[in-house]
């Protein structure tokens, strides 16, 4: 069957960004970014298992500036996805779904992930 190219609803571009929709998109985006982090985790572990020479090589690469910038990003992604994930789990049991509540919890998630990722980065990465 030929598909007719009709405009698709909802027309996201005509909506004003809201705390709910922006955080929802960010949840997916940070999740995707963290999936790439799993790849690096697997590489790090197998380098350790391969032996000291392989690990020294991997450590030189993983400790480079490019990766340090990635860790900063992953750090924010981790704390954001963690906090917003808990927010989703609370919704799943039927709580926090009133307008004022999900707006407040959204801003709390933003505040927490910024503070936690800056704190962690300062303490661990640099």
């Amino acid at each position: 069957m030929d598909r007719v190219e009709r405009p698709l609803s909802p027309h996201l571009q005509v909506y004003r960004p809201q705390i709910t929709s922006v955080l929802s998109v960010l949840h997916r985006a940070t999740g995707l970014a963290l999936s790439l982090g799993v790849l690096v985790l697997a590489y790090w572990l197998i380098a350790i298992a391969t032996g000291e020479a392989a690990y020294t090589e991997a450590r030189a690469m993983l400790g480079g500036l490019l990766f340090k910038l990635c860790y900063l990003g992953w750090c924010f992604c981790f704390f954001y996805h963690l906090a917003n994930g808990i927010r989703h789990l609370v919704w799943d049991v039927g709580l926090g779904l009133e307008r004022g509540q999900y707006q407040l919890s959204g801003w709390l998630v933003v505040a927490f992930s910024l503070v936690a990722s800056v704190g962690y980065s300062l303490a661990v990465i640099f």
């Binding site: 995707l32 697997a42 572990l45 690990y55 963690l82």
Partner: protein, 128 residues
């Protein structure tokens, strides 16, 4: 009586009876990853410069090996479920969707096996 139209049944546009399972698995792994993720972040932070000797000694501790294996497995599964939903939602050509889901699934199973194997090798191979 089936409520699916005959055309949709022929095209395969019917319930695969797997939606609830996917949803539940995603929540279970999410709950598990709250403590596991925090443990991993703080354990990694506590290892400082991540020298070879320090990471081997860390992974060699039985509790750490077990928690790392749980983290790798749960993380791979949760990541697989999440990336698959994104592929389901945003990729539209049926062949494109199929190719991406095959590649994503293979990659996640491989990452899980690599991670578990590596932890076990270090844990069992740590010289006394």
């Amino acid at each position: 009586m089936s409520l699916v139209s005959p055309l949709n049944r022929v095209l395969g546009l019917v319930s695969a009876k797997e939606g609830a399972e996917h949803w539940w698995a995603q929540r279970l792994t999410a709950i598990a990853l709250v403590p596991l993720g925090l443990w991993f972040a703080f354990a990694l932070g506590g290892l400082g410069d991540l020298t070879y000797d320090s990471v081997v000694a860390f992974i060699g501790q039985p509790l750490n090996s077990i928690l790392l294996i749980l983290t790798v497995l749960t993380l791979s599964y949760h990541s697989q479920l999440g990336v698959q939903v994104v592929a389901d939602d945003y990729l539209h050509g049926p062949s494109m969707k199929a190719i991406v889901i095959v590649v994503v699934s293979f990659a996640h199973v491989t990452m899980a096996v690599v991670g578990v194997f590596a932890v076990l090798k270090v844990a069992f191979g740590t010289p006394g």
